[in-house]
């Protein structure tokens, strides 16, 4: 390739003529562009594309981290999943968890954002304090809620104040353990989505509300007939991020309940972890489970897109 030294770079004028004027510069630019983007290219080829292909490859093998020979088993790892009791339990728990958490955290986050989207005094103070649950790590949140859910912890202390005396051990109850973790997650994730809703709310032209005020619309009516329809794209984003996050829930179960009691809080992610590190010869199964989980998440994201419908017209 002949690289002519750029003669005299022309003074820039309009955007369109820019490229055609700079013969040699264009080559230098291509080279710089390719060079600058190389770190991502490496990341993509190895950690994304390579990893994805390898994930499929492993899922077709009886794979063990220490074995020298990992025989090909075709689709067996997938075919056996429907008969795998643990997988079915984990899938049911995870789905139940995801449905409840995604719906409630989206509604709660929207409510928080709508409340904050006003000119009320102390708005910044409230925004900062409300956001705090989202800056703490999953570990710290789990530790705090171990204390909250302790038989004589914060929750039962507060219940005692209002006359409900109980020493229920929420995390050791097959009835309460999963709802307890759901609650924790709504509490800690909703403030993140609150910020996203808040940013979107501030982008809605105020004239729209003014027009509706002339028509005498109530606040609730405005919320449902103006705000929510206009927020559809961001609602879709929040719901899909919620689906992606909740279907991979791991930390809280791992730290607080280890999937118990009696597998009441066994999530798919926790099962994958166990298959990978605790059991032997189930790495291929773990991969198959992860891929199925990924496909479920993908399908549900598409469905939620259909349902929420992101068309938007001001």
């Amino acid at each position: 390739m002949a690289v002519s030294v750029a003669p005299q770079a022309p003074a820039a004028t309009a955007k369109g003529s820019r490229r055609s004027k700079r013969g040699g510069m264009a080559i230098a630019e291509r080279r710089a562009g390719l060079l600058f983007v190389t770190p991502y290219l490496i990341y993509f080829l190895i950690l994304q594309l390579g990893a994805l292909v390898f994930a499929f490859w492993v899922s077709f093998h009886h794979y063990d981290l220490l074995a020298l020979d990992n025989p090909f088993v075709g689709l067996r790892n997938y075919a056996r999943l429907p008969a795998n009791q643990d997988f079915l339990i984990a899938m049911r728990n995870t789905t139940e968890y995801a449905v409840v958490v995604v719906i409630l955290q989206t509604v709660f986050a929207l409510l928080l954002a709508v409340l904050l989207d006003s000119k009320i005094k102390g708005r910044n103070f409230f925004r900062s304090t409300w956001y705090t649950p989202s800056i703490a790590s999953s570990v710290v949140i789990s530790m705090i809620f171990l204390y909250v859910y302790h038989p004589t912890g914060l929750l039962n202390s507060i219940l005692g104040l209002v006359g409900i005396h109980t020493t229920e051990a929420y995390l050791e109850s097959t009835t309460w353990a999963l709802p307890a973790i759901m609650f924790l997650n709504i509490w800690t994730t909703a403030p993140t989505f609150m910020l996203m809703f808040l940013a979107a709310l501030q982008d809605i032209p105020k004239e729209i509300y003014e027009a509706s005020a002339v028509d005498g619309a109530s606040a609730v009516r405005k919320l449902f007939s103006i705000t929510i329809p206009l927020l559809r794209p961001i609602i879709f984003l929040v719901v899909s991020l919620g689906i992606i996050g909740t279907f991979q829930v791991f930390d809280q179960m791992f730290i607080m309940t280890s999937g118990g009691p009696l597998k009441a809080t066994l999530s798919v992610a926790l099962l994958i972890y166990d298959n990978l590190f605790k059991d032997t010869g189930t790495v291929g199964v773990a991969c198959a489970e992860a891929i199925v989980l990924g496909l479920v998440i993908f399908a549900l994201t598409l469905i939620s897109r259909r349902v929420i419908d992101t068309r938007i017209e001001y």
């Binding site: 770190p39 409230f126 914060l154 020493t167 791991f250």
Partner: protein
């Protein structure tokens, strides 16, 4: 057009994907809401209830961190410690094996990842925003598309890869996985697109190379986006748990989060230590949040990640 105020930059961003793109907050001029006294009272009552709901666990955690282990879960409960025990914090640092080392590990990886991401995310972002090269649009589309692949799909292959590269149980594992993050490349790309081209054109005339333009002209202008990327990377790395759990095997390689989880099993529910350790684990990120709140909020609104 000059590049005097960052205000001008903020409003110019043209985002292909993001929903809310670092907007300068619109002036709230709501003439329609006639707020009467009763509504104000109801509103504030609601705000206070929500604040209590979202904030009480933190207040109680801080107060508990000064109590004895027995008093944390005493029945009937106490609000304030009957005797204040600030030495709980000293005990966390001295009684828990290797806790200072875990704090160091957390800081080390966090700062290393922040430095790497500031450089690589902005470098790649700049190429996507400004330079013309083959397959640029394809690669950019791929980057957006791969962002939605659930992370769990990658866990097994990446683990086997890093195991074979002998990076398990080293800092290298986490640095390889987090030296750049597509979400923040996207954030940087969007920001760079908002910067007027005039300055670069002038630099090209002066014969400056592309890296020089990036390093000397563009980066200094990208402060808001760099701060958002840096702060969010700090938050993500400091709060990291799962990758440490998978890749770090010796307690000397744990971070503060992974270390905290061992309090439960190893130290048999010593609530004083658990509470003090939790406060220590949240403190740095809380400080970063309080100082850089603006950028934090913008970054999350832009990328939807944290």
């Amino acid at each position: 057009m000059g590049i005097g105020s960052s205000q001008a930059l903020d409003t110019k961003i043209n985002a292909p994907v993001a929903i809310a793109t670092m907007p300068a907050p619109r002036e709230v001029k709501d003439t329609t809401e006639r707020i009467n006294a009763l509504e104000v009272v109801v509103r504030y009552a609601l705000y206070i209830v929500i604040t209590l709901f979202l904030f009480t666990p933190f207040v109680m955690t801080v107060l508990s961190s000064f109590k004895t282990s027995a008093e944390v879960i005493a029945f009937p409960p106490t609000l304030l410690p009957s005797v204040w025990h600030p030495e709980n914090y000293l005990n966390v640092l001295t009684q828990i094996n290797g806790f200072p080392r875990m704090i160091f590990n957390s800081f080390f990886i966090t700062f290393a990842a922040v430095a790497l991401n500031l450089f690589f995310d902005s470098l790649v972002g700049y190429a996507f925003a400004r330079l013309e090269f083959p397959y640029k649009n394809t690669l950019f589309a791929i980057m957006i598309a791969t962002m939605v692949i659930p992370g769990f799909v990658f866990i097994v292959p990446r683990y086997i890869l890093l195991l074979n590269a002998h990076l398990v149980n080293t800092y290298g594992a986490l640095l390889v996985l987090y030296f750049l993050q597509p979400g923040y490349i996207l954030l940087m790309t969007q920001f760079f697109k908002s910067i007027p081209r005039d300055l670069e054109e002038a630099a090209i005339v002066d014969g400056m190379g592309w890296f020089g333009i990036f390093w000397k002209i563009i980066l200094p202008l990208a402060r808001p986006a760099l701060l958002a990327t840096g702060i969010l990377t700090f938050a993500g790395m400091w709060n990291g748990f799962f990758d440490w759990l998978i890749y770090m095997q010796d307690a000397t390689m744990f971070n503060i989060q992974l270390g905290l989880t061992t309090f439960r099993s190893v130290y048999q529910n010593q609530w004083d230590l658990i509470m003090a350790g939790s406060v220590l684990a949240i403190l740095p990120i809380l400080l970063v949040y309080l100082v850089g709140q603006r950028y934090f909020v913008r970054g999350i609104a832009t990328t939807g990640m944290k």
